[in-house]
Amino acid sequence: MNGPGPVARARAGLPWPDLAAGLFVLALGGLAVWQALAIPVSPIYAQVGPKAVPFVVAGGLLLLGAGLVAQALRGGWSHELEEVRDAPPANRRAFALLLAGLGANLLLIVPLGFSLAATAQYVLVAAAFGSRRFLRDAAVALVLTLAAWFLFVELLGVNIGAGVLEGLVLRALGREPPA
């Protein structure tokens, strides 16, 4: 153990983040147990039923979660991580902007289509990382998202419906947008 001594640890109090991570894993284990119990009994005979492995995995998660909680109660592990010790303060503004970008995409992708939704997301994410040139970002985003759409649809053969913008571009190219 090369963390701080017991005195320093007591002064720092309980490492709440580590405890929360442990409890999260425990909750995941609980969720897995609940879902394993919900698996219907198989009408087909099998030497090992469909429930066995889910129970093993759920049990493992509960045990491991308990282990993490125990570790957290003994002082946690975050203080041993260099990346956490040297980390700058949390940037709530950047994080909130990024989440806003993801949210905007979720809301817009069905009504407007991929390119416009992803453009909104792009501008917000770039702003999260400190960009102030919104017009440039929007212009870059329009080109990039359209290029990505054509790359995935035409070259990779992925079926992504044409939205407002994709439809316009396809018509400009003299093609009928797919339904």
Binding site: P17, D18, A21, Q35, A36, I39, S42, I44, A46, Q47, V48, P50, V53, P54, V57, G60, L61, L64, G67, L68, Q71, W77, S78, L81, E83, V84, A87, A90, N91, A94, F95, L98, G101, L102, N105, L106, I109, V110, A118, Q121, Y122, V123, V125, A126, A128, F129, G130, D137, A141, L144, T145, A148, W149, F152, L156, G157, V158, N159, I160, G161
Partner: protein, 501 residues
């Protein structure tokens, strides 16, 4: 076909056709680019390219994937030398000495020794695959389901508990992956499992979605959370050449690094951290007094040449268990394995018999990729370094565009996107609390295969669980797994008892 010479002759015949050369070149270009770009790696790239498996034949797709895989190893060193931010875990050690050399105006020789070292190691590693692969296949053909299950258990233990900061956190990642792998219809009995009654989950959780959440969304969220507005400094490349002295000092580390790295990749332990670190310490010890003084100060070329070779040789080695046993020991290998599944090809020892042309073309194309990559990287490294001048906000926003389209393309479903962003938040937490991500992907893809092997073994033994420990080979493999899990802790306890009295 298990004769390497005949196999390679067949393979080169196929690999050198114009179409396959094109796939290799495309893969190498893409791979180098994503290797150079901080924040994306080969696992994410191969995951995003998976839809290509519906459009292109298996040979072309795997040549492309392997080009990306090898290319990312070359590109990663550029970033760690010029930016001092390693692009992937295997380049962390390269950054130690490489960034110091760059600061002292020796970026050129550092980049050159990394590229040539990667070529030497890649060639040694690929030779290893060609000649060791068939031997492993001969052994693997003797294994039954019980042995396979034990092998997979060993693989689980080594990728989660032996590597990384903590066995406990590694195992949590693994079990999280196993849990994700269980979601969907049970193949043997047709029962829905862990679907929460959501019909979208009956098909299981998509590999692409999980990989994108872990490697793109989680990473970007974490970077935003920790974001500081500060310009990043890219060191100038300078002239990419090596003096006679540089060459003399690099040659030994290249060979030693290659020979050290390859076995580590072949073992189910996987991972490139351990061999690169070992190579670094070995070279520091073996260096002459003059060079030793440069370590940690001006930057010693041995400390770039050795670890970089070890990194690439280990990366090549990972393909041996992947191709011969169907055991992936890195995230990228796991995603390639899922590509095999989407072609309906089951990787494993039979691959060399049933898909001889595919396997040997793939191996031959690895030699081709190596030659292409050293040609792309030595003279053109200045061009690749330009990629590093893309402003960070534009880069990260762009990564999320590809993450979104890759996931939305699976089934045009907003549910998938919600799942993607939710898993991304989990991945961000994993990053913050130092949970490794590779075991999640490996657990998710290998888990269902392990369950199937276990059930087959138990069906053969008529429900007798002792089959795993009474069959000698299976018992020996399981014993190794237990030893790998408990050994380090017993050893530590032994040391502390002796030290503490």
């Amino acid at each position: 076909m298990t004769d390497p010479i005949a196999g390679l002759a067949l393979g080169f015949g196929n690999a050198l056709t114009l179409a396959n050369l094109g796939w290799a070149l495309l893969g190498c270009l893409l791979g180098t680019a994503v290797g150079v770009l901080p924040g994306i790696g080969p696992a994410l790239t191969v995951a995003l390219l998976l839809p290509i498996t519906f459009k292109v034949g298996a040979t072309g797709a795997f040549i492309l994937f392997c080009g990306v895989y090898y290319g990312a190893m070359y590109g990663g060193s550029t970033t760690s030398i010029l930016l001092n931010t390693p692009g992937e875990s295997g380049s962390i050690i390269t950054a130690l000495e490489g960034a110091k050399m760059a600061r002292n105006g020796r970026a050129g020789p550092a980049l050159a020794t990394a590229a040539i070292g990667s070529f030497v190691a890649g060639t040694v590693g690929t030779l290893g695959i060609s000649f060791l692969g068939p031997l492993v296949v001969e052994l693997a053909l003797q294994l039954g389901p019980a042995e396979y299950f034990s092998l997979m258990a060993l693989c689980f233990v080594t990728v989660s508990a032996v590597l990384g900061g903590s066995a406990l956190r590694g195992l949590v990642s693994l079990f999280f992956g196993l849990l994700l792998g269980l979601v969907g219809i049970d193949l043997q009995t047709g029962q829905p499992r862990l679907t929460f009654g959501v019909p979208e989950l009956l098909d299981g959780v998509n590999v692409v979605l999980v990989a994108v959440a872990l490697f793109a969304v989680g990473e970007t969220l974490y970077l935003a959370w920790r974001h500081v507005d500060a310009p990043q400094e890219v060191r100038p490349v300078g002239r990419v050449s090596m003096s006679r002295a540089d060459l003399r000092r690099s040659a030994g580390p290249w060979l030693r690094g290659s020979l050290l790295g390859f076995p580590f990749g072949v073992l189910p332990a996987g991972g490139t951290e351990m061999p690169t670190m070992l190579s670094y310490y070995a070279e520091r010890r073996l260096a002459g007094p003059e060079a030793r003084a440069e370590f940690g100060k001006q930057g010693a070329i041995e400390g770039v040449a050795g670890p970089e070779a070890a990194n690439n040789a280990a990366a090549a080695g990972v393909l041996v268990p992947m191709l011969t046993l169907g055991l992936p020991t890195s995230a990228t290998a796991a995603i390639m394995l899922s590509a095999f599944q989407s072609y309906g090809i089951s990787p494993g020892p039979l691959l060399f018999e049933q898909q001889a042309a595919l396997v040997w073309t793939l191996i031959a194309s690895l030699y081709v990729a190596n030659v292409l990559l050293v040609a792309l990287n030595l003279p053109l490294v200045g061009l690749w370094a330009r990629i590093l001048t893309i402003p960070r906000p534009l880069l990260y926003a762009g990564i999320l565009v590809f993450a979104t389209i890759g996931t939305y393309g699976i089934s045009n479903s907003v549910t998938d996107l919600v799942l993607l962003y939710g898993l991304g938040l989990v991945a961000m937490g994993m990053r913050r609390f130092d949970f490794p991500t590779a075991p999640v992907v490996i657990g998710m893809i290998l888990g269902p295969m392990a369950e199937q092997a276990m059930r087959q073994a138990l069906t053969i033994s008529q429900g007798d669980w002792s089959t795993f420990v009474t069959r000698p080979v299976s018992a020996a493999i399981l014993a190794m797994a237990v030893l790998a899990l408990a050994g380090p802790r017993l050893y530590a306890a032994f040391l502390s008892r002796r030290g503490g009295g």
